[in-house]
């Protein structure tokens, strides 16, 4: 019996088994000892991580009749996603406990979401991709609504669900057109069919492609399919926002790269323009609208949209440099995003959500260390060296310039200057204003340590970014 398929998919299978185990074990844990579920989930993640590393593919492996791929890209994205889900669980634990939301479902749904991400990351067929996407999306809808007595959360969940369902419909519709034209749903076969018959590169396929891009843009939250994002970021409880803001971006990136680059790379000329429009709009709308926000979660939501603009502009290049830059940017962006939401959670306490920018006032007086960490994270997102965010932007600009678009490069840096304002405002509130709220920060030591590492990481990675860029370049070169 050929075991390759099972070995390649071992991480997903392990995770699925462990999810079931956690789900059942959680039934026997009462609310006072719910922290046991947290530790079980962490163990599940660590085991998954171990299996991931142990079954690392030497070369790209296609299994399950070609519907599933295991390669360097999937490996890096899955390891990062698993790690970040663990970080999210850790940052969330104290908050959930303090707000009577410490339910086993949070962890189980989080793990199921991770399973969905891993399936998306490894999908080599449009249908596998769709299955992974829905697994992830359904977990997210439920997570947003986890505090069912909270009207804003419920509203956000409904909005997310309805819009998400429409986007899924559009995506499926696009998939059916692509299948109709090419006669296959396997991404590598689609690429081969298009290469063999240039005549296929015509209106029917473009029509399907447009719907696929709608799906991608929705998943990423790119303008004009971004409407759900600020509302969900604001409406969801902060740990859920943290979850949505971090690991799923990796899955969205995998989705984009697999479908557009691996599958429909032959149509680069056609989709490049569409992606460019979406990316430029995201960059402008995200940065400009973020300025007007007074809610930090919403502000970071719009800032996400702007960052997505950068990621999509890297993909737009269609070059290996561009793909590597997109990967680098996404990996480094979620480090900063996780840290920033981690600090928002840190400022909250029982019955009080630190949601407004003004909650950051005087943080330097309350906790110089975490103010410093937040400053690192904000400067990283702004793209000021020596923080890692700068190198992310540098690589994207380099990719865009070497593809011959100096105008876009100038637009990107100017948008960054606009964006600088709202990140600076957070620093201004932390350092230049007096504290309104004198409460002592409540966080357990493990959260403090990981959050500190998170903050220091954006500086440390900025001082030694070379290895990560080398890794991303290597992965981009190994893609088909």
């Amino acid at each position: 019996m050929d075991m390759t398929a099972y070995i390649s998919a071992a991480p997903e299978m392990t995770l699925l088994g462990l999810i079931c185990a956690v789900l059942i074990a959680d039934l026997f844990v009462d609310d006072d000892h719910r922290v046991a579920t947290f530790w079980m989930s962490i163990v599940a993640l660590v085991v998954t991580l171990w299996v991931l590393v142990a079954t690392a593919p030497v070369e790209p492996t296609l299994v399950f009749s070609g519907a599933y791929i295991s390669d360097a890209l999937s490996q890096v994205l899955k390891v990062t996603a698993t790690g970040f889900v663990a970080v999210v669980f850790l940052y969330s634990r104290d908050y959930l406990r303090a707000n009577d939301l410490h339910k086993g479902e949070f962890y189980v749904l989080g793990l199921v979401g991770l399973l969905g991400m891993m399936i998306m990351i490894s999908a080599n067929s449009l249908l596998t991709m769709y299955l992974g996407l829905e697994t992830l999306a359904l977990s997210l809808y439920a997570l947003v609504a986890i505090d069912r007595n909270n009207a804003t959360s419920a509203e956000a969940a409904m909005k997310y669900f309805v819009l998400g369902a429409i986007a899924s419909g559009a995506l499926l519709y696009g998939i059916s057109w692509v299948y109709g034209v090419t006669g296959t749903i396997m991404l590598d076969e689609i690429a081969a069919v298009i290469a063999a018959d240039p005549g296929l590169n015509s209106l029917p396929l473009w029509f399907g492609l447009a719907f696929l891009i709608v799906g991608i843009a929705f998943k990423f939250g790119a303008v004009p399919f971004h409407m759900w994002l600020p509302d969900v970021y604001q409406g969801a409880r902060t740990p859920v926002t943290l979850y949505i803001a971090s690991a799923p971006k990796l899955a969205a990136l995998a989705f984009t790269i697999r479908v557009l680059v691996d599958g429909l790379g032959g149509l680069h000329d056609v989709w490049a323009d569409m992606i460019m429009v979406v990316a430029v709009l995201s960059l402008l709308v995200g940065n400009v609208v973020a300025i007007a926000q007074s809610n930090i979660k919403r502000m970071l939501g719009y800032s996400t949209i702007a960052h997505v603009g950068f990621i999509l502009l890297a993909i737009f290049c269609g070059t290996e440099k561009g793909n590597a830059a997109a990967l680098f940017y996404t990996l480094t962006y979620i480090v900063a995003a996780a840290g920033a939401f981690g600090i928002v959670i840190l400022l909250s306490r029982r019955g009080y959500d630190a949601e407004n920018l003004s909650d950051f006032k005087g943080l330097n007086a309350r906790s110089p260390w975490f103010a410093l960490m937040m400053m690192f994270l904000m400067f990283s997102m702004t793209g000021v060296p020596p923080f890692i965010g700068f190198f992310g932007k540098l690589n994207v600009i380099d990719a865009v310039l070497s593809s011959g678009y100096p105008g876009l490069a100038v637009l990107m840096v100017l948008a960054s200057v606009v964006g600088a304002y709202y990140y600076l405002r957070v620093i201004w509130y932390m350092y230049f204003e007096e504290a309104e709220d004198q409460a002592v920060l409540q966080a357990s030591n493990d959260t403090r340590v990981v959050l500190s590492l998170n903050g220091v990481a954006v500086l440390a990675l900025g001082i030694v970014p070379g290895w990560l860029w080398a890794l991303c370049t290597q992965i981009a070169l190994s893609m088909r």
Binding site: V384, L394, P406, L414, Y431
Partner: protein, 506 residues
Amino acid sequence: MDFSHSILSILIWLPIIGGVMLLAIGDDEDTTSSRSSTMRIVALGMSLLTLVLSIGLFKWFDNGTGAMQFVERVSWIPALDVWYYLGVDGISAPLILLTTFITPLVVIAGWDSIKIRPAQYFAAFLILEGLMIGVFSALDGLLFYVFWEAMLIPMFLIIGVWGGQRRIYATLKFFLYTFLGSVLMLVAFIYLYGQTGSFDLFQFMNAPLSMTAQKLIFIAFLLAFAVKVPMWPVHTWLPDAHVEAPTGGSVILAAIMLKMGGYGFLRLSLPIVPDGSAYFSGLVITLSLIAVVYIGFVALMQKDMKKLIAYSSIAHMGFVTLGFFLMWSITAGSGAVLGIAGGMVQMVSHGLISGAMFLCVGVLYDRMHSRQIADYGGVANTMPKFAAFMVLFSMANAGLPGTSGFVGEFMVIVASFKANFWFAFLAATTLVLGAAYTLWMVKRVLYGEVANNKVAELQDLNQREFIVLGVLAVAVLLLGLWPAPLVDMMNVTIEQLVQQAGHSKL
């Protein structure tokens, strides 16, 4: 002990490590506690140690070569071919010495006048010092940019946390203005990286570039450096930043950060895009002359002392850019070298003088909490020692022979005579205008009847203030009477630069 092979790294990282140590020591509510005094001693010790070590730079510097000295080159980001590449020549070495000289003075000046979070204050200045030395010694484009931008962070905090009433407005304006200027320089760097495959500045200098590319790159550089210098009409952030910054912040801003712009022109614009520089030299000269004349008049009308000195800084920096870009208007002789050397001397001297002027205003502000000229009068009666220093620095600011202010201005005016009579004529108006606005301020603040009771109660300089101003006074006079060591240090480098910039890349 010979540590010349790694002196630049030591000068960059020592103050930064000092800053981190200060942050680790942290602030104490009680300013007289042993923790507070340890913190201050560490701050002063680290800045003095940096100063002492930088003397090695002066001692071991070889005036006979225009090549880079004390070179350090280690691979930093191999995937992008970025190097940790440091070195100094006759242009950067004097500016590094200026930086290490001014920073301890700033630490002493803030010794007990900073009440809020002094550890963070001193840490910001030490980290800033390291980053500024980094800018002056980086020879890799990306490394240069990293230091250049990172420098904004401590300054942003210095103005925002320890500044005056409108500090938030001023510091945001400062950050966004300079950030806007420099991001386009980044695009230019990345373009050059695409052309040469490396961020090495010497590769940039050797790269053949078309006229269109040179023009665009020059504009990108011009925006970055013109904002920093600052040149008219992108100078508006400076008066706000200077007025709102704490004394130490104003001193560093005027003495060193403005020099970054001038340094950028010499290190990047002239050698990398010589034809672009030649093409736009008329524009730069025009803007410089507008700065000298128009901003001189603006300075005349100021009611706020810090604002007056800020405008005077813009006018004086106009001389620097004028001197740098004269070379394409001069057809014969050594005028080109004279102009650039004059600009360089002016940069160093302005660093000393403007720093001293801001410290003088700081001395008054600490006592009266006002910067308005109208609130003063007759200060010389109650503070004779202070008045002596302030008159000296004002004379230097006005360009009195015998002070450092004269040397640079004189060199630039002589060079501009060789270029065009009207350049010289307009530039020379500064001798009148500079004297007018500076001395009129001195008259209103220092002389006349004692204006009010507050002035009558003023205490003269304490020992700490006396040392700071005394050291600066000696430096201003020394440079004015005997500028030879400085000029010798930079001469060969400038000759080489003029040759390089005169050589078309087309």
